[in-house]
């Protein structure tokens, strides 16, 4: 990003919008003084309280998107105290601030509590408390709720607002989902990809004036929801896969009660439930990747196609045309150094002819708007592009069943509606789609039936 002129007054609450790649995160990092001189080039000046951001360490607090990457220490109390320690705050004062901060964010857990046992929403509030304990004048938040379930989103949003009211701190937040923040901020600034400001003003005004344009750029504007696909008349539904008294879990400990499910062709099933209910584990077990704790996943002959009735015993190659799995984190399933090669992995493992491999890869590149990125390294793609690629790699081998774990996590509205349209078409064309999701709108638009894990 370049050429940005912006003045934020003390105590303002600003929502920063812009399409992916507009430099919102870079700007927040720069405000927090954590952009090193060796990380890219900079021109012009950025002043916090009239000085370079790095001068006043702790004056600006930063909360980022990924809850796991910002928990620093093992105990809740220590983690909150960490910033104070670095600023050389005296011991008595540190613990006073730790208590105050945890109270302000509403996190009432034991100070000795292990931080890895906290939920996503609690971890984000812990990070906020850690920032707060430094007594910052400015708090910047980079998509703080993108990785959370609906309960966690509200929890974190309310904590931020309470903190702003109690401390009078200036708030700058970046988020795709406008509806979460539009009622509680007093200013919306829209950044232009490449530089400059497109819109700046009171939320209601900006959203009514620029709402449509923002929506087209992938921002979630409540008045302009992303398009939902028209569902075609469905083909005949046949059972492909069923579970018999299935219990899933890590090791021998089952999560939740046994399940009897029927997975049908031309049908979209959504698996919902709170964090820790075992949704991802169930997805991986249905995908033939994890062994059930008890009970069984049984493939019907039409799906098994000679490969035996238990997917977990299938060869890795046999899974390709039968059950595809799209992982929550696309990076886990990347194997090669270009987008094209990534798409070729599956078809090559099936020993398809070169001609057929090329045809499938070309089709997917176009269909998922990845054609301009064919030569790029998958790790360098944006979040939305990585998600599209990970779905495309599974589609390349045309599995009859597709399992997706939180496909819409952190996605902008454009990628969201593209995914939705793509999956809807797969179902209309006869596939079975199973999605694990927290995303109520997505489930509402796609799912033919829903299972909620307790």
């Amino acid at each position: 990003m370049r050429g940005l002129d912006l003045r934020i007054e003390p105590g303002e609450r600003v929502l920063l919008l812009g399409e992916s790649g507009a430099g919102k995160s870079t700007f927040l990092h720069a405000l927090a003084g954590v952009v090193g001189d060796d990380e890219g080039e900079s021109e012009g000046s950025l002043l916090v309280d009239g000085e370079h951001p790095a001068v006043h360490r702790g004056r600006t607090g930063l909360v980022i998107q990924d809850p796991d990457s910002q928990v620093i220490l093992e105990r809740v109390g220590d983690d909150v105290a960490f910033g104070c320690e670095n600023l050389g705050v005296p011991r008595d004062e540190i613990w006073r601030r730790v208590h105050d901060s945890l109270e302000q964010v509403g996190l009432t857990v034991d100070l000795e509590r292990n931080t890895s046992a906290l939920s996503g929403g609690q971890k984000q509030r812990l990070a906020l408390a850690g920032v707060l304990a430094m007594r910052p004048g400015l708090i910047v938040l980079d998509e703080p709720t993108a990785n959370l379930d609906p309960g966690g989103v509200t929890e974190v949003r309310d904590a931020v607002i309470r903190v702003a009211e109690l401390t009078g701190a200036t708030i700058v937040v970046v988020e795709h989902r406008v509806s979460v923040w539009s009622d509680v901020v007093d200013r919306v600034v829209v950044l232009e990809a490449g530089g400059g400001v497109i819109a700046d003003g009171v939320p209601a005004e900006v959203l009514s004036r620029q709402g449509e344009e923002l929506a087209a750029r992938g921002v979630w504007v409540p008045q302009h929801p992303p398009a939902r696909p028209q569902r075609a008349v469905r083909g005949r539904q046949q059972p492909l896969l069923s579970t018999q008294q299935l219990s899933v879990g890590r090791g021998n400990r089952p999560l939740g009660s046994p399940l009897d499910l029927e997975i049908l062709s031309s049908h979209a099933l959504a698996i919902m439930g709170a964090n820790g209910a075992g949704k991802s584990t169930l997805a991986l077990t249905l995908g033939g990747l994890m062994r059930p704790v008890s009970g069984a996943v049984v493939a019907r002959p039409i799906l098994a196609d000679g490969a035996g009735e238990h997917p977990i015993r299938w060869k890795s190659r046999e899974l390709l045309t039968r059950i595809g799995t799209v992982f929550q984190d696309p990076e886990h399933q990347l194997l090669t150094s270009t987008v094209r090669a990534e798409l070729e992995v599956g078809p090559r493992a099936l020993k398809l002819s070169d001609h057929e491999v090329d045809a499938r890869v070309e089709e997917l590149l176009t269909r998922l708007r990845l054609d301009r990125l064919a030569g790029a390294n998958p790790f360098t793609l944006s979040g939305g592009e990585k998600r599209r690629l990970s779905v495309a790699t599974s589609l390349a081998t045309r599995p009859k069943v597709l399992v997706l774990d939180e496909p819409t996590f952190g996605q902008d509205s454009r990628t969201w509606s593209e995914l939705l349209a793509l999956l809807a078409r797969l179902v209309d064309d006869g596939s079975s789609v199973i999605t694990v999701s927290h995303d109520l709108e997505f489930v509402d638009a796609l799912a033919d039936s829903t299972v909620t894990l307790a």
Partner: protein, 251 residues
Amino acid sequence: MIPVASVNPVAKLGAGLLVSLFLIVTIDWVSAATALVLEMAVIAFMGIEPKRFWLRTLPVWLAAPFTALTILLYGRYDGAVYFEFLLIRISDGSIELALATFLRVLAIGLPAVVLFISIDPTDFADGLAQRLRLPDRFVLGALAAVRMVGLFLEDWRSLELARRARGVADRGRLRRIAGQAFALLVLSIRRGSKLSIAMEARGFGGDTPRSWARESQWGSAEWVTLLVGLLIGIVATVVAVLTGSWNLIVG
């Protein structure tokens, strides 16, 4: 019962090192046996659950006989020979050395494991930085990294399952593991850099002298712990010297 859990980890480390120091300068069975007997007496008073004790120290119990066996078969040849086959030669000398090695591995390994099962990484880091004055950037960086090990294990699992899902897990196991290890490295570097941004954003690495939310305690319990280590080492050495079995291996 000795409340060993609350003793400063740095003192535990020191006590373990003191015992080992006396035991590694000599290879005889008397010193090792003496130290082992004294250690077992101390350990008995620590109030460790028997199941936990055996489970945690199992690797030591396994390592000791295997090391001893190697020495028995290939160790220094001396005195009467009882068995010979190719390079294998069991003699009075190798039997004695094997016994000494067996006891030594136990005498050094057991207290190390027992002392460390009660160490909390956070307290240990506090001790290293505040008591041993190790640079706090280094200590806290390492502490934060240790906390990420759990995330890496999760990543490794996911990488493994993802390879099966992508159809490439049927053969070439070695190559696949190498590829997976590389992928884990890439992921861990990314996690690491995110973590370091989070730490820096909380003022870590600045010029201000750091304060500590918790003082790393050092009192009589710590001195006693060190003293016990020292005494075990001295008694073991004295007994070995008096019985004439002490043999200095350095120099």
